[in-house]
Symmetry: C2
Subunit: 272 residues, 2 copies
């Protein structure tokens, strides 16, 4: 059981642990009218990540809430895009950092606009000066502890769509709000799940789709050399709300842009 | 200028970035009646950490709010302890992780009870299984990104007062809610500021006080061997609300407990 809060009616309790400590999770789900994109995967991830944090929530209750939200905010017109945001926290109170046993989680449900679509010819990206420190205990979890992403995104300006962060080992890991996919002569390449701050739903879906098509996909550390070498055939940024975004220029260097991936992987055809 | 919210009247806006991303800071200040303990240091740290995150707040406005809070919640009786909590966030809204330029920060002001005092004969502590990953960009900052501390504190039970976390290099760094101070044959020893997740006010004050007394204080990485060797003359946990807490047993090993430090450093005599 969760306590449910609709953002157009009320906020979370003033002593909610989401605010106090970032003690919770969130999902942003692309909606079209009353239809959703990859909703079951988003809800699965939230349940799985919640279990890692010791927050009890069931798929059934999240699914019921998402359906209510679609009715509440979605129109009949599937061309009307919006974003459904679910914020799940461990609940309110506790003794400092230490949660009480058997707390009831709080679930805040909100809607927001879709960001502007990116151009088909691709976007400009650069390297971030912010190093990503991923605690293995929390790797991949879309938690409310996102200060590194905030600090990195402060360096974004209008001309640069995304900044790619490295880890202390110097490997490229992910953008502020996107996962990284590289096309090389040897196939597709993406950083391994254990290194990720956020393990994206779009990444998961695109990797599966590529493998279904018989493509070779390697999950291994990505070096700067992998994306700036002549063997790099393309760099893509993956995001649940924006889909597959090709990079046409990375750190001042032009990259080949191939519409092929968007053809294989158009998540917005997947309305459910 | 900040937007001010009194927790007994209202919470922060539903789209506040403190909840969304842990994009903010907090301070917990020990109060006695209308008097405070080390208040100027707390406010200094909040201003300094806010500057590191790019959040604009002035010492003057924080000080005025703390004084109002003391009037609002404090009694005439300085034996009545309570805790003043200030939560400062970057504000509400923004485009995803990226803040808007010139956002107005939100400041939530709350009061809470003092935790039970610890016994003079000391407490029981153990090592945490949670490794601390400190991003140098955020080291020492008392930000709202505290999931590591939450996860570590879930392992606390009634018998164990504190769990000490290590970093990936295997050095002991700090407890879930305390900084670490070790007394050895060579003087006092504490992990260096750059390694800390939270650089505590009580730590800062105790180190200064020890140096004023002519004691030798080393800031260097602390190994497990430093606290479990026969040369260890005492282990202390430092916390703004609880003061100086001696450890009588660490990981099943009895430690000498010396009341001397509490005599040199009794912060609760410092009412302002």
């Amino acid at each position: 059981m969760v306590n449910l809060f609709w953002a157009d009616e009320s906020g979370l309790p003033v002593n909610d642990r989401g605010l106090a400590y970032g003690d919770g999770l969130f999902e942003t789900i692309r909606m079209q009218g009353r239809k959703s994109v990859l909703l079951p995967r988003h809800l699965d991830r939230m349940v799985r990540d919640a279990r890692r944090l010791g927050i009890a929530v069931s798929l059934k209750e999240l699914d019921a809430v998402a359906r209510q939200a679609a009715e509440r905010w979605g129109s009949d017109d599937p061309s009307k895009g919006w974003v459904l945001k679910l914020t799940l926290t461990r609940g309110a109170g506790g003794r400092g950092y230490r949660p009480d046993a058997g707390m009831t989680p709080n679930l805040l449900v909100a809607c927001g606009p879709v960001p502007p679509a990116t151009a088909d010819e691709g976007v400009v990206a650069d390297f971030s000066s912010v190093t990503l420190s991923v605690n293995p205990l929390l790797s991949g979890i879309k938690s409310l502890n996102r200060l590194e992403q905030v600090m990195a995104s402060r360096e974004l300006d209008g001309a640069v769509f995304e900044l790619i962060m490295s880890n202390p080992a110097g490997h490229l890991v992910e953008g502020t709000r996107t996962n990284l996919l590289v096309k090389s002569c040897d196939g597709w390449l993406t950083p391994p799940a254990r290194d990720l701050a956020v393990s994206g739903i779009m990444r998961q879906w695109v990797l599966e789709r590529l493998r279904q098509q018989g493509e070779v996909v390697q999950e291994r550390p990505v070096e700067v050399g992998d994306v700036l070498s002549e063997f790099c055939l393309g760099v893509y940024l993956l995001n649940s709300v924006l889909g597959v975004v090709p990079v046409r220029n990375l750190a001042g260097r032009n990259l080949p842009v191939d519409g092929g991936l968007a053809t294989i992987c158009n998540p917005f055809e997947l309305l459910e």
